[in-house]
Amino acid sequence: MTADLLFQTLASGVLIGLIYALVAIGLTMIFGVMDIVNFAHGEFLMLGMYSSFWLFALFALDPLITLPLTVLMLFAFGMLLYKLVVKRIIDAPPLSQIFTTFGLMLLFRGLAQFFWKPDYRTIEGSIASGSVHLAHFQLGRPQVVAGAGAIVVTLVVWWFLHRTKLGAALEATASDKEAARLMGIDSHRMFGLAWGIGAACAGAAGALLSTFFPIFPEVGANFILIAFVVVNLGGFGSVAGAFWAGILVGVIEVMGGLLIGPQYKMAIVLGLFLAVLMFRPQGLMGRTQ
């Protein structure tokens, strides 16, 4: 194996890892704020991809240009979903919570198939197509753009959480629901906000992916398990943790694929997930509670 191949694999692992991180940030936020695991999170990503696709197919608008619109739409969708469904299961037993979001996952997949057919669709000729040459390495431009976009979105989320009042309120709700409520923070509003931001992050990831990844109703399945792994590695509720863990998982996945065989890369990631759950349940970077 040449050093070139190793470097190129490493770089592509980091780039896909940035996307994983973005998906996981939304998931970790929902979990951190309200202790619900959103199995339908991959479907937010799927909807983000379809939003990009239709805006491209119908109005010839590039996914990168429509990214803010996609993010806004997903944000509204996440809030709406909270108001209509999730709000009702906050105090429900864990089993019904799991099955609610599981059912939503299947429902969105089914609806996507119903309205948009199960076909694989691709976006051809985005401004992000082509490749980037770095010395004698070659990387796909869509991947590089997606990675850069993921960093930008992550920074925006981080800024929101740590530099705005609303973000501080969200953080406060995540660390102690009761205390935050007593300070006059409306928990329902914060939960809705978490779902909005969570969906928006996944939607952004979908939009960034749409320039180089096939778009189909079940595309979320490829990302949800990985997102769980990332969230666990980074520590539930930790945005910074999810970011670094996302990159780590991306690298482990591609390196495992290269060294052991691509058919086992998911098994490697899941094995790592189990190992972390068992020996470091607070995550690699998580705080002990």
Partner: protein, 349 residues
């Protein structure tokens, strides 16, 4: 109590008479599928319902059962009945690994870990040359009859599935009545109290899981013998794990007959939506199926049986003129998900 016995007798009578009244192969096959779904739901219920450990990785046991009996039959000429038993034992052994890696986790974490374990098992079987990789394995039809567990008619499978369901329910009933049932409920509802009175929680969680794995695997072997073909997608998928939990949840978790009722309802709905919309290729049946899951999970978290029990409890309370606080308590008491199940609840239906 008397009404319950009557209902039970009626259900048993219907189950026994059905194959004589219904001759159409399509309907008999549907009944077999419903019985098999009920059986796997009942097996899941042992650990997922009674002990409250919501596994979404039970397909691993089902698949291991199916693969063990099939591989023993194809490669070593083992009798499928023996293979079925072997599959159950292998699954019970596997469940020790499963339990070791997952039981130190609680709630969502446990559930996610079970999904991960089952996914890994599926990936291993998909790439395992000996187990036929993604292509799967076929069971030859050269020997037929009860000894070979291969039949050319559907009715025989009906009896087999019914017997297996009865066996699983009988085992569940026995567990429910024994100290095990008491321990399982204690682990589910009051783990700290259970520990403080000296119940070895880890050990009894494992007992629940091993029992559950054994019966799940037996169901897998039956599936293999019925379909005469297995592949990772049909016996190891996460969708299958979900279905096992779903029939229990739909009917009522931690109740003896919940999975049976859940399976009947689910099979009917699945079949109706498939027959009505399935041909369109647009996934309308999936939409209905998924919509149903959401509605049940959000509005009827204690399932069909649980809902009836809650209603009965409310009526009872109203008759006795108790105050609203006690009504709520009674309703909660009857909900198998929320609070300790009625001592007699499971046994009475």
């Amino acid at each position: 109590m008397k009404r319950t016995t009557l209902l039970l007798a009626a259900a048993a009578a219907v189950a026994l008479v059905l194959p004589f009244a219904v001759k159409d192969a399509y309907w008999v096959n549907l009944a077999v599928l419903a019985l098999m779904a009920a059986q796997m739901g009942a097996a899941w219920n042992l650990v997922g319902g009674y002990a409250g450990q919501a596994s979404l990785g039970h397909a691993a046991f089902y698949g291991v059962g199916a693969y063990t009996s099939t591989l023993l039959l194809i490669n070593f000429g083992w009798n499928p009945w023996l293979g079925m038993l072997a599959g159950g034992l292998v699954a019970a052994i596997l469940s020790a690994v499963f339990g070791w890696s997952c039981f130190r986790l609680k709630g969502h974490y446990f559930t996610m870990a079970t999904i991960a374990v089952a996914e890994i098992v599926q990936i291993v079987f998909t790439n395992w040359e000996y187990a036929g990789t993604a292509v799967g394995l076929s069971i030859p039809m050269d020997r037929q009859g009860l000894a070979a567990m291969v039949f050319s008619d559907k009715v025989s499978y009906y009896w087999l599935a019914l017997a297996l369901l009865a066996l699983t329910l009988l085992a569940t009933w026995a567990v429910e009545r024994s100290f095990l049932g008491f321990y399982f409920r204690a682990i589910k509802d009051e783990p700290d109290a259970a520990r403080s009175v000296g119940i070895d929680i880890a050990r009894y969680k494992q007992v629940a899981l091993s029992l559950s794995a054994f019966f799940t695997a037996i169901g897998g072997s039956l599936y293999a013998q019925k379909e005469l073909y297995i592949d990772p997608g049909s016996v190891l998928s996460t969708a299958l794990s979900i279905k096992m939990a779903l029939v229990s949840i739909l009917g009522g978790v931690g109740t003896l007959f919940g999975p049976v009722i859940g399976s009947m309802v689910l099979t009917v709905i699945e079949e109706l939506s498939r027959a009505t919309f399935g041909g369109s290729g647009r996934g309308t049946d999936t939409v209905i199926y998924a919509g149903l899951i959401v509605v049940v999970a959000v509005f009827y978290p204690s399932g069909i049986l649980g809902w009836f029990k809650e209603r009965a409890a409310r009526r009872q309370a109203r008759r006795e003129g108790e105050d609203a606080e006690q009504v709520r308590a009674a309703a909660q008491d009857a909900s198998p998900l929320a609070a300790p199940a009625h001592e007699s609840a499971g046994a009475s239906l």
